[in-house]
């Protein structure tokens, strides 16, 4: 049970406090409600580039990291389709340093050209290192535009192309900052060995003076229901053929979300999963075959991804995947198999809650989704799934008209 206390400042900042005196550290997690889905389609990758700029100095602080390291702290951040999330961990008695730094960069960045130029280069190198200079690194860049035709999940967080990052300028940076990086568009979690009173004192001192801003978030275009199968062939210098099948599923608060997650475990998670035993081991069609969900706030994807054994054709491999899916749709999953994946989920939740920073992130994300109690009720949602629900969800979701298939051919 994760206990927390939530309140809102007059400027609209949501604050969540979680006390844990078993640790000597404290985490500050600041979530901004902006991700790559909020970008202009012609300026993609901007939310993530912006995340880098948040470490390049703010109005009163020249070097964010040095000031933090002086107080024994560490920091990082990530950008997803939905959010940009910053976190700091410090010895609990130095937590005020985190408040000082994070409130100053919410107040205003120092918007300098040099930081922008350098971070554009760093992000371009990141683009190359993770997406271009790796075999199969660009799968995500291919599958998203195939699966999403209207909704801005159409592009990856890193951006559609390097050119978009190169074109970013300071004017856009300012505009983006003053629109999205507002107290009324953020969630602050203070978790660890710091009391609620101290948290309130520090929040009032450092964050309350920041003015509310006129944040405009455009409504996102909904992805229309897919009605026919989409397929794309890619040829690249990789050693093995690879197949990805991406099915549309519900968003994070969709009632079927938990069933989809469990279905992905039944098919593809671990050594007792169906795909591994039937298609990797028995039929020897794949050397790896994984199933996972994207976990996005808006309707996301259920993905199957596998590397084919040398000499196996795409037709054979795909037919075998489809055969397993048909079996899933036509035969009720046993209570035993369902218990197995739920038990595994329970273990994962417990292991995830061990770390105070993880708990802070989880609280922030649940609040962002609009249901903070999810941090404690998640397991109940999984326990509420039964074999009939699983079968129903599989029948509706795992159909070719709802599927986007990428055939990634090894160029010989």
């Amino acid at each position: 049970m994760i206990q927390y206390h939530k309140f809102t400042l007059e400027n609209g900042l949501t604050v969540i406090h979680h006390f844990d005196d078993a640790t000597q550290i404290c985490a500050l997690n600041l979530l901004y409600r902006v991700g790559s889905r909020n970008e202009d389609p012609n300026k993609t990758g901007f939310a993530h580039l912006f995340e880098h700029l948040m470490f390049g100095g703010s109005k009163h602080v020249k070097e964010f990291d040095t000031e933090l390291q002086d107080a024994g702290g560490e920091s990082n951040a990530f950008t997803s389709n939905d959010i940009t999330n910053y976190y700091v961990t410090l010895p609990a008695n130095n937590i005020e340093t985190g408040f000082w730094l994070d409130s100053d960069r919410m107040l205003s960045l120092d918007f300098n050209q040099k930081s922008l130029d350098v971070q554009k280069n760093v992000v371009i190198e990141e683009f190359k290192e993770r997406y271009l200079n790796q075999p199969y690194g660009d799968i995500w860049l291919k599958i998203l535009p195939l699966a999403y035709q209207k909704h801005p999940y159409n592009w990856a967080t890193i951006g559609k192309e390097i050119g978009h990052i190169e074109a970013a300028n300071l004017e856009q940076v300012k505009e983006f900052f003053f629109n999205f990086y507002a107290p009324n568009n953020a969630i602050l979690v203070v978790a660890g060995n710091v009391s609620l009173e101290e948290t309130k004192r520090l929040v009032n001192k450092w964050f309350a003076p920041i003015e509310i801003r006129n944040t405009i978030i455009s409504e996102l275009e909904k992805e229309p229901k897919q009605t026919e199968a989409r397929k794309e062939h890619v040829y690249n210098d990789v050693p093995l053929d690879l197949i990805v099948k991406a099915y549309h599923m519900g968003g994070r608060l969709d009632p079927d979300y938990y069933a989809c997650d469990l279905l992905s475990d039944i098919l593809g998670s671990g050594k007792s999963a169906r795909f591994f035993n039937r298609l990797v081991k028995e039929k020897r069609l794949f050397s790896e075959l994984d199933t996972y969900i994207s976990g996005d706030a808006d309707p996301g994807l259920f993905l199957i991804e596998g590397k084919l054994m040398k000499g196996i054709s795409f037709e054979t491999a795909e037919a075998a995947i489809l055969e397993e899916i048909e079996f899933l749709k036509n035969n009720l999953i046993s209570e035993n198999e369902l218990s197995k994946v739920i038990n595994k989920t329970e273990t994962n939740i417990c292991f995830g809650d061990m770390n105070v920073l993880n708990r802070a992130m989880k609280l922030a994300f649940a609040e962002f989704l609009g249901d903070i109690e999810l941090v404690n009720t998640e397991i109940d949602h999984y326990l509420a799934v039964n074999p009939e629900i699983l079968q129903e969800v599989a029948k509706n979701m795992l159909v070719e008209e709802n599927c986007n298939t990428l055939y990634y051919h090894a160029k010989s």
């Binding site: 078993a22 000597q24 550290i25 109005k59 009163h60 990291d65 390291q69 002086d70 107080a71 024994g72 702290g73 560490e74 961990t89 010895p91 130095n94 005020e96 000082w100 107040l107 350098v118 280069n121 760093v122 190198e125 990141e126 190359k128 290192e129 271009l132 200079n133 075999p135 199969y136 001192k205 450092w206 003076p209 210098d237 990789v238 050693p239 093995l240 671990g270 050594k271 007792s272 990797v280 081991k281 050397s287 790896e288 590397k307 054994m309 035993n336 218990s339 197995k340 994946v341 038990n343 595994k344 989920t345 329970e346 273990t347 417990c350 292991f351 809650d353 061990m354 770390n355 105070v356």
Partner: protein, 426 residues
């Protein structure tokens, strides 16, 4: 009262580190069980540590295959049935083959421990390495290998170790296609008998375990066919380095993988902890010189780090990065400039202060969870270090100054005996 944001809030320095107490018990046969209780979530990890690492293998690839085949079937259960049982209790069975040992770990919730332990022991003791399962693992490994061989970072890592230590050095053992093909059941069975059944070093339990869990381990281990490693000395070859610059051409790459390094000192050396600190300043954290200059000032890379990697038989220090091919030469020259600078000039005091404060804070973070504590305890046990090894960092870091750090830089980071490995465009 108006708020002055120009002034940093006062902060406290970490003045002591506390390594929590742990318990030591013995099984009936005399194996040590270290038990470290921490955390509040009801999770446990049980590790068995074996003399079954890269240094113990006679044939390349047999250590890794034995470790990964332990889940693939016993006299009583085939691979699927074993995996189903372990998964049913929500547990994870993991084996890791390291340079100097192998570790088999069971992760589960405390409430399921009594159901998981018999399965875990069965896998460790009664594995039969079925030929069919071995064949599958070999073919899958070969597929993984050909993908790895397409990665500059993999080629760079492999060739760096082979150039620094010698192709036949155990720490430079990377399995080739031939190595994988030549693995057979027989060699795995022998390796299992000699290095696992007759090579159990100790057990370690960590997490928020119940007293029953500890008792169950003691009871279950009372009569098991394990014995301690024999005390025969391992032959550890001296490194044979090909000092100098090496390049593997990959003309279609947009980035080059770079590794530059040399032989260094081991954990039992009196300078080791000080060198760890010096390495932190040079390239060991986000505020390091390499990161500040090459990423944050020049934007030539997404990441650049230096790492001190101590093994039992030797130690390696290296710098690692993936860099824009176009600007690679200027990046390399900046690395060597930084090496020369840290040897030639004393490090400014404020830079030392920042690094020290950060380092002590990072110890607090890493001493936070039970599993990371257990990892630290393992380092203490394996290197016969005292319980004050980590707490003593406070004193060491408070005493060290610019002069001593410069002396250490000249001793350990000087630009001599260096191996430079680059994989990328010519």
């Amino acid at each position: 009262m108006s708020l002055n944001r120009n002034i940093a809030p006062a902060f406290h320095l970490v003045d002591r580190l506390h390594f929590p107490a742990y318990e030591t018990r013995y099984t009936k046969q005399g194996f040590k069980i270290y038990a470290l209780k921490a955390g509040v979530q009801p999770v446990v990890r049980l590790d068995f540590i074996f003399d079954a690492g890269l240094i113990h293998q006679v044939k390349n690839a047999e250590a890794a295959f034995t470790a990964s085949m332990l889940s693939e079937g016993t006299n009583k259960r085939n691979a699927l049935s074993l995996a189903e049982s372990l998964d049913f209790y929500g547990s994870y069975f993991q084996t890791r083959c390291n340079a100097d040992d192998a570790v088999a770990s069971l992760y589960c919730l405390d409430k399921h421990f009594n159901n998981c332990l018999p399965l875990f022991l069965e896998a460790l003791i009664e594995s039969i390495f079925p030929a069919k399962e071995l064949d599958i693992q070999k073919k899958n490994s070969l597929q993984k290998l050909i993908v790895n061989e397409k990665k500059n970072s993999y080629l760079c890592r492999k060739n760096f170790y082979q150039n620094l230590l010698g192709e036949n050095h155990p720490y430079a053992a990377f399995s080739s296609k031939e190595n994988i093909n030549s693995i057979d059941r027989n060699s795995l069975e022998i390796f299992h008998k000699n290095q696992y059944l007759e090579g159990l070093k100790y057990l370690m339990l960590s997490g928020c375990y119940s007293i029953e869990t500890l008792n169950i381990i003691e009871k279950s281990m009372a009569e098991q066919p394990f014995s301690k490693p024999k005390e025969n000395k391992l032959h550890m070859p001296d490194p044979i380095s090909k000092i100098g610059k090496h390049l593997i051409e990959k003309n279609d790459s947009v980035q080059s993988a770079i590794r530059i390094g040399k032989i260094s000192i081991q954990r039992d050396h009196e300078d080791f902890r000080k060198l760890q600190f010096l390495n932190l300043i040079f390239g060991g954290y986000f505020g390091s010189r390499l990161m500040k200059n090459i990423r944050e000032d020049k934007g030539l890379t997404y990441g650049i780090y230096s790492v001190l990697e101590p093994f039992k038989g030797t130690s390696v220090w290296y710098i690692d990065s993936d860099m824009n091919s176009k600007n690679r030469e200027s990046g390399l020259s900046e690395i060597y400039k930084e090496l020369a600078r840290i040897c030639a000039e004393p490090i400014p005091n404020d830079e030392i202060d920042t690094a020290r404060n950060y380092y002590l804070g990072s110890f607090l973070r890493s001493l936070d969870g039970p599993f990371s504590l257990a990892d630290r305890l393992k380092i203490m046990i394996d290197n016969k270090l005292s319980d004050s090894y980590y707490p003593d960092f406070v004193k060491i870091l408070n005493e060290i100054g610019a002069e001593e750090l410069q002396h250490l830089a000249n001793k350990y980071l000087a630009n001599e005996n260096i191996v430079e490995m680059v994989v990328g465009k010519k």
